[in-house]
Subunit: 364 residues, 2 copies
């Protein structure tokens, strides 16, 4: 199904990613319809229509499907049952498989290993006995994570020397978990790439990321890795996209570690089946943004070129950082993005700021 | 009145300019509310709220003013009475003066002359006797225009050798008119500039424009004029903005003519008290777009820098040109913008396409 201009994109989820997807849809003559349980949310302001309903409200989902031409999602915690239900009515891109896979940290790691990609060592934790054995095997420090519903550091806890493993297990709820061995990495990087309906893959340049308190703080490009490592990272993203028969933009987070011989090597950490925070710089810094690429892909349209406009620095405005909006506006090199969130809360992503340093500007 | 993030911008008019203003407002965390008589229109898709009502519906205007923090307009044919009414309730930027001035071609020309700027020779046509005398004085060809409600070549007619002057006068309605002497120009250029609430003025680089059938077809930068002429053009725009105590983005159209001594000189043709078609390239090709500049200005926020990213070519997609959307998407250097108009009509602006040629791309 290929959309015509004027068609409507249905978006599950109403956060800033949905907002920026809706803005990208507007640029190229498409409409958007947001479906989410929240009545007030960043994406609603940018969409032609909104449905405020629960993700299991089949009547609301049916009406939503009737009013749109294609469905996508802007966050990975949408229930797979919602996506499966909608898939019977309209194309959902990317589909239920990528969603299900990334909702379960164990399944995701197994999938990555199945593709021959390196991940952190991990163990399937079915109960406290399995946990004790896995801690003995993977050593300390290691990280215990719930299999489901984790993001921005939620649902995980470090097991250190002297940690009470059983207590940590109980605090996380005691359900099915994954234990991940500690990875000594030099840098965190990510590949943002898009796969079209016809199977073309276009990757943005490699992003180098810094997290603070498990939340992305800063992204810079070019990433400080060897050129062949950047090429290898893009190949990994392509392999994942092809294996999932994916349509849309994906974010693949990786660690750059050093092997004993000093060579850089890539360890895949996590897949986000959606546009990704480390790709926000593309609005200002690339020929086509990750958001427009995603909309083009799910519309069945050709992908754009993603030439980078210069050296990039993107930083997130978390919580009270956004109070600096006026100073940011007054700085000549910065591009300010605010998500329209009316309430500032600690840890909340309120906006981001991009600096693009072009050759001309560097020469000054 | 300075807006806070999350505030709402009221926009009179619902065309593509309103749409692109609303998109720019979204980027920097503001909401927009469109007021227009049309139920289906490009700007509605991008706005959080719309009021569909006549421009003289005082109850609807009052409710609109109550729901917004500042008012602006996206086209110059909004009745001045509407703007005057709203001005009593909320700040309107730019205000009624710029609107009234540009709605009357005679008043506009007199204003420009009053600033010491060169315009085409013109005469006030109150009746057919005045017209006959003016044609004798200004010669043929000359252009007879209604004083009000002209755009894209509407409301005007050329008086040539052998033309039946009285018939042309009747065809245009016989009301108050202006006769403009013919200007032999080499190029058409425009300055897009923005003035902040505090009086700062920032101008984009000079645009060189080509019209076809009185509609803008193409804009290119840099304009092929001497550097001092470009500087002079920006000074002219500043002079106009300051004289009007203007807040927001303006478009000033000028002709570049040759004096007898071969020097280039600027003749001011027309002012548009709004964002302008020849500034659409700024979305892709400048650090800050004309739309974001306008929103920043009317919000009382600092203006951005307008560094140009390379050589620019923008062309409008008029009528069936937009049928080429898929081919345009597939071309690597082009950025496509579609306005969401569901019906294609001859002469209708459906979208535009921008090419930004950077130093890197040129070197390939």
């Amino acid at each position: 199904m290929i959309l015509a201009p004027g068609a409507t994109v249905g978006i599950l989820g109403s956060g800033q990613l949905g907002r920026m997807l809706a803005i990208a849809a507007l640029k190229i003559g498409l409409r958007s319809h947001i479906y989410a349980p929240e009545a007030e949310a960043p994406a609603h302001d940018a969409a032609m229509a909104k449905t405020v309903a629960a993700y299991d409200d089949e009547a609301a989902l049916t009406a939503f499907a009737d009013s749109v031409d294609v469905v996508t999602y802007e966050f990975e915690s949408v229930p797979t049952t919602t996506v499966e239900f909608l898939s019977q009515l309209k194309p959902v891109r990317p589909g239920a498989r990528a969603l299900a896979l990334t909702q379960d940290r164990l399944v995701e790691k197994q999938f990555l290993r199945g593709l021959g990609l390196e991940t952190a060592p991990f163990a399937d934790i079915t109960d406290s006995g399995a946990l004790a054995r896995a801690v003995a095997e993977l050593g300390r420090p290691s990280i215990l994570k719930t299999r489901r519903f984790g993001y921005d550091g939620k649902g995980q806890s470090m097991i250190r020397e002297g940690s009470d493993v059983a207590a940590i297990h109980r605090t996380l709820g005691g359900g099915p978990m994954i234990l991940e061995g500690f990875v000594a990495f030099e840098r965190e990087v990510s590949v943002i790439a898009t796969r079209s309906l016809e199977g073309d893959v276009v990757a943005f340049d490699l992003c180098e990321n810094e997290h603070e308190r498990h939340i992305l703080a800063r992204t810079r490009l070019p990433a400080r890795v060897a050129a062949h490592v950047e090429a290898q990272a893009k190949d990994i993203a392509r392999k994942i996209l092809d294996a999932l028969d994916y349509v849309g933009t994906i974010g693949v987070e990786m660690f750059v570690a050093r092997s004993d011989d000093g060579a850089e090597r890539l360890i895949v950490n996590e897949i986000a089946p959606r546009v990704h925070n480390s790709g926000h710089w593309t609005i200002d810094g690339a020929q086509t943004s990750q958001f427009e690429q995603h909309i083009r892909a799910i519309a069945g349209w050709p992908l754009g070129t993603v030439t980078r406009r210069g050296e990039i620095e993107m930083h997130n405005l978390i919580g009270e950082d956004a109070d600096e909006w006026r100073d940011i506006l007054a700085q000549p090199d910065l591009s300010l993005h605010l998500y329209g969130k009316l309430e500032t809360r600690p840890g909340r992503k309120m906006g981001h700021v991009t600096r693009v340093i072009t050759g001309a500007a560097k020469g000054r």
